[in-house]
Subunit: 260 residues, 2 copies
DNA sequence: CGCGTTTTTGAAGCCCCTCAAGTGTAGTGG
DNA sequence: CCACTACACTTGAGGGGCTTCAAAAACGCG
């Protein structure tokens, strides 16, 4: 009811320039050609970043807005004991939130997991866009709140589900999110993430993640191998996980794409 | 560096009308008398709500902004199995976030834990305030992002800390937050919350929470009894928990108050 | 005082962790 | 092309932390 309406439903492969940020925003808001152009140019001069590289460190003074255009990134916090907790996975179109604009210091670290194409939008430019383009301001705010709902879903996962449900839930989420930005083809999602990284996101050890993945594989629900997630039976997996994707606030239109 | 500067540092008992929302915002932004007056009147006609009552349910269409003026509230999500996860504790001055304005449906349920005084600000009024008063817009945005950092701290708690550290960390957080809104006196914070509720927040059972609390009590660090938390040794407890309160983004000024 | 709820304590069990060794698999240099 | 290395994945055995089940004690409230 409240979502900026009149979505254009771009796909990554349908837009002239495949800018994931535009795809994501266009899926929920009606962007004018002018606004698309503005975003396009704001993401000019992207850079390629190798895997496992910090993009923004905890405690850094906040500055520009960082957008993932290709690849997989994350946010994490380290503990004194040396363990870490991944708090967020970032896919193409996702960006570090508006901490950048409002708060004075980063609370966690942002890093690549795979090689990434990354755009940096200077703070002044973001503030200008937000001030002059209400649709963009609202869209960024929207993205921010969706993110918050994802955090809460992860909390439920960590606090109240066992290991099998946890892994299943995360796989469902990543698959649906990937699908929404056009990354899924033939029930396969590129997902080059190690067991240790999954463990750090799920509050489990790499060893146990491995055992759980085997269980899910043997059950014929899904398979994670060689950097790709193959989703054999999404409904069944969602059932195992207790997954209800409404917290992702995706247009319904994006959900029926997964049927090949 | 980025925080709206020139804070006035109100305390609950120093302001003519003890409005926790104003206290909280005034601690981080320079409010003009006009803006204080606007907030004051926006919170007109608060209502008293009994304990354990839902204020806003998951799936509800979003509407007005709800502010806690007195008492303790929370947000939680239920799972199909009947278990629940508390994702947030709300103290005086805290409010349900801007979901209200931007998203179309609530993602979780907001409920009282103790009897509360609650103000409701109509959506139109919030939008008006945000549009005409940049300081207020920025302050709400700020509150929102601080909230997000708290969520992440909880995720770390759930994912990577054992039961003792978890309980200790939550107690540290609540104590420091309570102190920041002037709820702490003589090292004591009113905290009328059951073991079951703590368990639902920490991903533990009530039984185990009880055991952990005993440990912390016998260690002489803190005591939770009869609805009040007595903090005997905050530095030691913070050390046990690995607690670093910077994620709360409180003015440093609020932190030295606890040394009564 | 009596009742319902919460807290407390005990005993047994399971889930996930830890430690450890073995098996790929990709990249490097001979 | 094949060692060699580094790293991630896999599988097994044993242990510990938290849960579950159960019942008694304490508390709060009419």
């Amino acid at each position: 009811m409240n979502r900026p309406s009149g979505r254009t439903r771009f796909r990554l492969d349908e837009v002239g320039s495949p800018n994931a940020l535009i795809v994501k925003i266009a899926n929920v808001a009606a962007l004018s050609p002018v606004e698309i152009d503005l975003l396009e140019h704001a993401c000019d001069h992207p850079r390629e970043v190798p895997a496992h590289q910090d993009l923004l460190r905890e405690g850094d003074e906040t500055g520009s807005l960082i957008v993932i255009l290709r690849g997989l990134a994350c946010r994490y916090k380290m503990l004194p004991e040396g363990t870490r907790q991944i708090t967020e996975f970032l896919m193409p179109g996702d960006c570090c939130h508006m901490h950048i604009i409002v708060l004075d210091a980063m609370d966690d670290t942002m890093a690549t997991l795979t090689p990434c194409r990354v755009a940096t939008i200077p703070r002044a430019r973001v503030e200008e866009l937000v001030a002059t383009r209400p649709v963009l301001a609202r869209s960024l705010s929207w993205a921010q709140l969706v993110n918050q709902d994802i955090l809460k879903a992860w909390m439920v996962n960590l606090g109240r589900r066992n290991s099998v449900q946890r892994v299943a839930h995360l796989m469902c989420e990543l698959y649906v999110r990937g699908n929404a930005v056009g990354l899924v083809a033939d029930k396969r999602l590129p997902l080059d993430v190690s067991h240790a990284e999954l463990g750090d996101a799920l509050g489990l050890t790499a060893v146990h993640v491995c055992r759980v993945l085997r269980k899910l594989r043997l059950a014929g629900l899904m398979q994670l191998r060689a950097g790709t997630l193959t989703m054999h039976d999404l409904p069944a997996l969602a059932d195992v996980a207790g997954f209800d994707g409404s917290y992702l606030h995706l247009a319904a239109a994006t959900e029926d794409q997964h049927s090949v």
